[in-house]
Point group: D2
Chain length 426, copies 4
């Protein structure tokens, strides 16, 4: 890997908090579709895809044309929450292609353009609506790094206890956390029904359907429906953090569709703009949209460039079922290849669903693999409490042959990285 | 004002939290410099300027060219915190033109692209560095809407007590809060020196030098130096929220320069990208940059489009002193005109400094004025606890004659809106 | 039941928060052993025993003599934490009869004379010692009503959400909470071992071995040992709240003795003085006794009258094994009788152990029973989330025949109160 | 000072948290009136008086007789919150002699017998009544050590930041905190009136009229009335912590009487029982007595021995004005003598009022003085952030000549302890 002079300014001036660049020690200069290239012209298959922010790949040509035209025509770039034609176009497309077909009458709140800010808004609103403060969140959940969202986030390095007072959240075990024999939804049912459980009545139940950062554990449709029913029964809002699993990553636009669950509030971000531009929204049932005007604001909640590309993304990929079918086919391909790989590794297992799958191996092997992949021409990252899950997060638009190529590279690096001694499962 | 059909989708689908669009009920279609136009082609002088996010006006031609080229060339749009040539360019320009000339060895942390996220990061880091949890914040401070930042934000509508547990902050009176006879820094000095004050040793003192949302009250250089000295003396980080007052709004790049204070951490956002694109950074002294890798993350912390325009903005406006001189001249013009206006209004007074000035009038008159201005062709907004300050937030690049024209419109609307009876000062 | 004029001053002047007196609507005038009498001379068998504060009955003659002598001789009544001969006597007896025989080198902290204050002290100390803030507490736990203790208390009426910010506690399911098939200690083990569980490393694990207010659920010795091992393994203090279950209520002095567990800290109160006088202590391993002098105080932490009676109680009841044998025999008698009673009530079941047993019936039946018992000459109270457990809390010194008589009265009232229709189990 | 063998058990077994006994290193054996004696028969004048818990001295003969009779007659010692004749007697006396003559219709809540528990109850109730969580408390306030009370307590050693999350309190400067030129009530007025002050609408304003532990600063009647008016105006309960200043310490039964203020809630403890026995009450206006039955409990809230002595104390000392006159005369004597003493010490000053006065000297001199006093036969303690106030807390019943004797001893020790060099004021 070539580094040296390229990186001096980063090492001199960028905060030590930087992380991905430590494993992927190259300076990127461009990207198209599922490939990126560095300043030396070397290409890499991108199985990171902006951690889910580039579901449609880099620089989609249709979005690019629309954005270039918009900028060239002096379109509004920044509009706070003023009305713009760009926002109008997005809202119309979102209604036509996402909300109306699914029978959702939800309102759209544009928040500061981070997933965390959407989570913050959803939780504040749930607390206002219910007059309660408690929020149910789950083991290995990831919801962002600002304090309100961080209280619901499970990762201990990020929580930074005891430096921050992270209150108002009750932690419950996610589906499968105690193994197949225990239905963790029943623990939630028990504590919510018991006036002496010590778990205060919740304002919201906040969850991901597939835990993108936590390690690709997923909620079964049955568990999800049970939890949704408990939320409803106990007067809490079901808030789904679809920042990573939404926008088609699991095949459907919302990750809850497979279970037939319609949340009271959904947080979307990452791939919503389609082009990797910052954007975040909260969808909320009109009956719960009880904000005072201006009660939750944010300077960049009207990122018009993102509205322009998001509108193209919706019209291009979500007007028909074709895209969903493509994702499902590619997901099947990933499952097949990862399963084959896992079969060669004692203790390994395939996790996740859709194009949000990965393979859990020994943490040290996973770490070695990501580094080896960069040298081999593949960018891939890890998830899970100990970074033990190699996460195949290719753009949803990755051509099948390129997807297979990337999976070849991955399998090669994993198998080459195996220790001589018998590996220990994570 | 023409509304009607234009706005139906907003009313049907956008959350009731929307606010600016309630007073400025037009659909914007484009902007150039200090003018915006709506979908019907009508032009407005923009004295809102993205609430400080458009210090260089709309669609600056040089930034626009650079951005169009970057996109056309398939530059990386979204790169998490991977190294990109766009980020490298920004860091080099920022070092050359901002940090080095001011003798600052600060590190640059790219946070989620909202000012609030920068504040969250700075406070978390200060708590980690000091092992303390308390943060000193001030009356009428505004620092964002996520819980960690909101705890430091003063506005009661936004705080939403008692729905959110906003802990870890001690509120102190800002400079001048108790009138000219009381030096509020001495209260801070007293409580920090007194082991029985009930104010726990702080991790950070967080402040704005001019309170952009709170009503344009400003800290005198003397007060600011005193507070900076107290922070240093008591082992707390001085964190300056320069989201609104930074990037030249007061004439200098940092708003603290006039006082000769160099903060331990500075949060920049809004106009940093120059083009209105989402971007936020925390500058922090290297000795305090004690993050674990990845301990504070955010999907859009690598908004490469913003790096591209920010680099142009820095090189265009901050390579010489000319821009600062322009801002000071225009600020003098605003002071002169607002003072003349205030002289005609019993109880009115001019507040703020640089191009961050406003005139405080009766709240109802301020509200009437903003609405009348829209009809007259001027977009302007209000600040202060009761919205009593009309805030002249023109782009710093507004030509003098257009600035005068806008001020004419403002004065006309204010004076026309005066009640027949003697007005009551706010 | 005679009420009327007797109670007017209470109804006029005592706060509506009063509770036990609502069911037991008599004015008590005296007590001896396990009997109390009201102002009209009527006697009642006392199966409430000060909710566990009168383990040795009312006005034990030996303690009484000692106390009368002490007062008559102008002994110190109130001594803050000054050294007194009364405190010296207590400490010597406590060392000789409680600590030394059990090989415990614990220090004794005299706290404000409430169990809650002891819990507050123990948790504050655990947080100081570990530098952590999180405390593990359990479903249906009861630890007192001041905010630090209340955060660990499970009862929702008492928690008063959302009025109080009760932070710093993670709630876990108590032994048996999910039925016999699920070992809840394994959930604790899982979240403590998982760096992404969202459960921050705890300063303390706080528990009762039998949940006196929660409904007489008990921790099995195996579960208790497992939890103690987890606390040790993860650097947390095991804090046992033995306020109700200690001082012999389960047969041994500490309720943890049966499991062979020695906690890092134990909170004792209620029956510690022996005479019903206010007293509370925290026992803590010397290595954890890291207070600054005066860092936890309380005006009445030196209640010398209580030291005098406590010393007699220790020497009288804990010098030999005889008392423990008596309690076990009486406990057997209670088990036998309650089991027979439960057999006649579909859905009923016997809970607890030692002289801390009760029978769980339909909540409405339990409520009717307590009221009927007063008329029949028995004072008894209820526990559990819905008041569904009739709690046999006789003094440990109750003569067997009086114990049987009380149990007769109880059984009679329960059976007479059964509804004609088939009862529903709680 | 004789120590040695006497203290071994304390050093071996009592927690290092013990404090008063470190300066007063004797073992007390008895007390009568204002004198105590140690196990060696040596007598000491008691100017500590249980830190205000022994306003009527040790072992008042009338209370003693009543208590001996009560115990000898097998009166109820412990009654939870059941009705007892002892409690009835207390309530009647309290109504007749305290509440009715002052036109107070307040209800009486018996809390756990610590002042802290009373404060906890009052704050929880205020939060419930108002639906708010914020509480205004003041610099140098002391309200107890359990977390809810501790959040309002100012002393940093006791607060133990950052180990405990002490939320829900806004700290304001007490009367005189910024010197005579600044009326700190106006800061409170300003932040309560300002919707952008960042101080959330309070549930309660909690204060002491003389800060017993904080250093004997006092609120002027004017300031107190202003703060009471602000509380009323802004819908907050005025809660007065009269634990130390109440029960006659300042001359009147309540310390607020001089200012003509009737609080919404008053916490009484310390000298309420008259005999030094644990007891605590909250007095609350009936309209705010909105507890659910049993929502705040405590095992020892029915300490019947305390009711017995409290009833005697009320009838003996509060039936006429004579006692108040005595206290005022003795207070004058203390003022005179302390003023004379302070005149000899550059920088010293007299603080407090009633028999709650002290002299502020250099901290090191104060520390030397307390130790020297023990040797001289006087027990006295210090208050203030650095222990700089020697606190004359004689029983209110101290005969004038004994009071003068104690003051002689104090003056002698202070003057003997002066450094040769010019003393530095604290």
């Amino acid at each position: 890997m070539v580094a040296g002079a390229d990186n001096q300014i980063f090492e001199r001036r960028e905060s030590v908090v930087r992380s991905y660049c430590r494993g992927v020690d190259v300076v990127l200069a461009g990207g198209r579709g599922s490939l990126v290239r560095d300043v030396h012209g070397r290409e890499y298959v991108d199985f990171l895809a902006g951690a889910g922010a580039l579901n449609y790949g880099h620089n989609d040509p249709d979005m690019k044309v629309a954005l270039l035209e918009y900028i060239a025509g002096d379109g509004i770039a920044h509009g706070l929450d003023l009305y713009t034609d760009a926002k109008r176009g997005f809202l119309q497309a979102f209604e036509d292609l996402v909300l109306a077909p699914r029978g959702m009458d939800h309102h759209v709140q544009f928040t500061g353009p981070t997933g965390a800010n959407g989570v913050e808004a959803a939780l504040k609103l749930a607390r206002k609506v219910t007059g309660r403060t408690n929020v149910i969140a789950f083991t290995r959940g990831f919801h962002g790094l600002s304090l309100g969202a961080l209280a619901a986030t499970a990762n201990s390095t990020m929580r930074m206890a005891p430096h921050n007072a992270l209150g108002g959240v009750t932690r419950m075990p996610y589906d499968g956390y105690l193994g197949p024999g225990t239905d963790t939804a029943e623990l939630l049912a028990a504590v919510l029904a018991d006036p002496s459980s010590g778990v205060d009545p919740p304002a919201a139940v906040l969850l991901e359907t597939v835990q993108g950062e936590g390690g690709l554990d997923q909620a079964s449709p049955r568990w999800l429906r049970r939890v949704a029913g408990l939320a409803r029964e106990h007067g809490a809002l079901l808030v789904v953090d679809d920042v990573q699993a939404g926008c088609g990553r699991t095949g459907t636009f919302f990750s809850t569709e497979a279970a037939g669950v319609v949340p009271d509030a959904v947080v979307l971000s990452k791939s919503l703009s389609g082009f990797g531009l910052p954007m975040s929204v909260v969808l909320v049932r009109p009956g719960y949209d009880l904000w005072e005007p201006g009660q939750h604001t944010g300077t960049f909640r009207g990122n018009a460039h993102a509205f322009v590309t998001a509108t193209v993304a919706l019209r291009k990929f979500w007007s028909t079922e074709a895209f969903t079918h493509d994702v499902h086919r590619r997901a099947g391909l990933v499952t097949e290849r990862l399963t084959a790989l896992a079969d060669e590794l004692p203790g390994a297992r395939v996790k996740g669903r859709g194009l949000m799958q990965g393979v859990q191996v020994e943490p040290a092997l996973a770490a070695r693999t990501t580094r080896a992949c960069v040298d081999a021409g593949l960018i891939i990252e890890r998830a899970g409490p100990r970074g033990e899950v190699l996460k195949v997060f290719a753009p949803l638009t990755t051509p099948d042959d390129l997807l297979e190529h990337g999976l070849d590279l991955l399998a090669g690096c994993v198998l080459a990285g195996r220790p001589a001694r018998a590996p220990q499962p994570a």
